[in-house]
Amino acid sequence: MRRRDFLLAGSTLAGFVLLSPHAFAQARAAGWRADRTLVLIELAGGNDGLNTVVPYADPAYHSLRPGIGIKREAVVQLDEKMGLHPSMAPLGDAWRAGELAIVQGVGYENPNRSHFRSIDIWDTASGSNRFVSEGWVARVIGASRRAADRLADAVVLGGGTGPVTGSGLRAISMPDPQRFLRQAEGMHAAEARPANPALAHLIKVQHEVEDTAKELRGVLARAAEVRGTFPNGPLGQQFRVAARLINARAVVPVVKLALGGFDTHANQPGQHANLLRQLGEGLAAFRKALAEAGRWNDVLVMTYSEFGRRAGQNGSNGTDHGTAAPHFVLGAKVKGGLVGPAPNLADLVNGDLKHAIDYRSLYATAAQTWWGFSRSGALGDHAPLPILKV
């Protein structure tokens, strides 16, 4: 029996002792589905959307990209117009099972082509002229009730804390859970609350380590190593760790993964194919591992990237920074298919695609449809997309 209590004092359930056989009974009672995990995958550097989800039947595509375009016969056809990059073939199973939604033309008004500013916009769900300091997940979850026995609000396995940055959120960067535990042995966080912000940050991190280590010990005790063939490379490793935590029924609303190297200004084809292979194989292996453990129903996977790339190739067999791009949403509760209009190469603005779907409606889908939050100011008026069965 474990004592379960809630973060917020004064709650009618505070201190309530459950003999629940359901690992997530408490998380469910939080008023939002804190037992559900959102897996965010950052494709850092700006993924080339047109070579990921390819408008292979459009002659304009081939004339814009004579050197780097994906040949019609090479694509994995999705319908009579669109096809996936051949490296993404491992996603075929999920596509046929109707568990993969490909949301096309995702972007925002007045796109910014700076890596840093644009990822900032995506991370914080701000408009292109607004500056917000907290990540969008932190703003959505805000002060909502959390499960006290959660592993963390977010586990970051790759890249920065971007979307989960915020003083209210316990976001832990933890590339290797076992090592984390070994190192956290004997850590005692100070009780002091100094005015010095740098010192306050250090002490806050100490507390996060202590709290997370306490939960992690239990999680790892009931978690077996995950079998299955995950692709070599950093992303495959992150998928494997994520699967292990989730399969051990860790309560963790967000797991963030990242793969870098998408800034393909020169000699794009080989590099991009390798990155997409890691993504495609990783997603397929992850789906399989979770399905076998009976956890696939509780997970929603979503990719994002700071921008797509210019419609035409540049002079270096690569592509420069662009605007809108397609993104993948994957899960057992997903209504699969192509969503949103196909890229219109006849209607470019200075060589760039116009966006059709605001990226914040993807976030709203996660916040409202997946987690069950009511509409909040954090995401403005952007409504969820009808891509989930729940």
Partner: protein, 500 residues
């Protein structure tokens, strides 16, 4: 010096009105000297503190700036003198030849990392190395893209040459720097086939700051102006290729002409925003995480009218009241390199081997010669997250555990490859184990008792020892009656040891 102060004193006596306005400048106490030394270097040793005590702020800052170097004192690896091998073996090469080429680069990269750490630890001018690192984090280039260690070595030499020199010259030097030319794709930037990578970062990161007074069109036009900036394949030196250069008319930031890259830089440097942008960044490095807008404007104006003399900028920053203010002391997080070098210097430790340094840098989030992306390391409190904090503590615990007696020094499998992520999960795990084993075996610990015994008596008192090792009052002050080894260890493991 003494005489002139005497004369000044006499003048002041004769002119009481003046004396009221210019009271004799206060001199530094030991804490002030420590603050100045740590903020402009890596550590403050008692002997150095003694040299700066009793100087006025202006004298102390002048002394630090006057000691700045333009060359490394440590001899570089021998291969830096050889003809560079820039091209990997061609199609005809065997598997072994390719592998040998790769391994040679890895070995050279590690030597380069070790060489820079040695220089940082041994230099008589720590500020020169801090500024070289500052510019490395500003005009970034990385192993993972540049590949050839020789180019990064040469870039490091150029950064050091201008580290406390002239910023305008530094911008010009970096635009024509071969490592930069590879890193930001200038190599591919040719007439009719512009590649915007360098042009964009020149404006966004190197001079003006994101969105500050330029347009997307300006970027495209600047990219055209830099076409043809390339390098010589045999020597790895800069070369302008006129046939690849677009010498047509460009319109850039409101001006029109047949501009080349040099013209573009000159136009950019005329913008007042440049000095402010650099001043803000230097403020964050040396003063606090929250630049004071009024002070920044004032300092930037001096920096700009000096023609971008970096010593003017630093002198103004280090003499600003905010630099000395009590509320700004101990409020910056030591970067991983500062923590490593600072600890080595503070406790007079031998330098760990090159692989350890490279692995440590990666684990703590700051691999020199391999910043994460073109924006460099974000720094500040971002250095500390659950993962990096644990590794910092683990490393310091090892160092404080005392020298490990004669353990065997085996070479482990799974060597560090600069810029290459471990290929497989096994390799990654292997490297992690290798790191931990090496840290246990090769990271030499401090013999704290011996270190303490050598300390000048005045620093042996508990309150002075505390003020020497940490910048602010420790969160968990060690007991005054602990033995010295325990006392020092507790201070080093206190969170405040991470601050400067």
């Amino acid at each position: 010096m003494k005489l002139s102060r005497f004369v000044l004193g006499a003048v002041l006596l004769l002119a009481p009105g003046l004396a009221a306005a210019e009271a004799p400048a206060p001199t530094l106490n030991a804490d002030d000297a420590r603050h100045l030394l740590v903020r402009t270097g890596f550590a403050a040793l008692p002997a150095e503190i003694a040299k700066f005590e009793a100087l006025t702020r202006a004298e102390a800052v002048r002394r630090i700036l006057a000691g700045a170097r333009t060359e490394a004192a440590t001899a570089p690896p021998a291969w830096t003198k050889n003809a560079p091998e820039l091209r990997p073996p061609g199609r005809m090469a065997t598997q072994e030849e390719r592998r040998a080429f790769r391994m040679k680069r890895v070995a050279e990269g590690l030597e380069l990392v070790g060489w820079w750490y040695r220089e940082m630890t041994a230099t008589p001018s720590p500020l020169t190395e801090r500024m070289t690192l500052f510019w490395h984090n500003h005009f970034t280039s990385a192993f993972r893209k540049v590949r050839a260690p020789i180019l990064l070595y040469r870039q490091n030499v150029t950064l050091r040459e201008h580290a406390l020199g002239n910023f305008a010259k530094l911008v010009h030097a970096m635009a024509a720097d071969p490592a930069m030319i590879v890193y930001l794709d200038s190599l591919q930037n040719r007439r009719g086939y512009p590649n915007e990578n360098f042009a964009r970062e020149l404006l966004e990161l190197f001079t003006l700051g994101e969105g500050q007074g330029y347009t997307e069109t300006d970027i495209k036009e600047a990219a055209r102006a830099f076409t043809g900036w390339s390098l010589e394949r045999e020597t790895g030196l800069y070369r302008f290729r006129p046939f690849q250069h677009d010498d047509g008319e460009k319109t850039f930031m409101g001006r029109t002409g047949r501009f080349n890259g040099t013209d573009i830089i000159e136009i950019v440097l005329k913008q007042p925003r440049v000095a402010e942008y650099i001043t803000e960044k230097a403020w964050r490095e040396f003063v606090s995480e929250t630049p004071d807008p009024t002070a920044v404007k004032r300092i930037a104006a001096k920096f700009r009218t000096s023609g971008y003399e970096i010593k003017v900028l630093l002198s103004e920053l280090l003499l600003a009241p905010q630099f000395w203010a009590a509320e700004n002391r101990g409020r910056l997080v030591r970067a991983p390199v500062e923590l490593i070098v600072g600890t080595l210097r503070q406790f007079d430790l031998p330098q760990p081997d090159n692989r350890i340094l490279a692995l440590l840098g990666r684990a703590l989030g700051q691999e020199v010669f391999n910043p994460p992306n073109v924006k460099g390391w974000p720094g500040g409190t971002a250095w500390i997250n659950a993962n990096t904090f644990l590794i910092r503590q683990q490393v310091l615990r090892r160092v404080m555990a005392g020298a490990v007696p004669g353990s065997e020094r085996q070479t482990a499998e799974g060597e560090m490859m600069p810029g290459q992520p471990p290929a497989t999960r096994q390799q990654q795990a292997q490297r992690q184990r290798a790191l931990e084993r090496r840290m246990a075996q090769r990271l030499e610990g401090v013999d704290i008792d011996a270190w303490y015994a050598k300390l000048d008596r005045r620093w042996q008192a508990p309150d002075r020892l505390t003020a020497l090792i940490v910048a602010v009052k420790p969160v968990n002050p060690p007991k005054a009656d602990s033995d010295p080894a325990r006392f020092v260890r507790d201070l080093v493991l206190d969170p405040t040891f991470q601050l400067k």
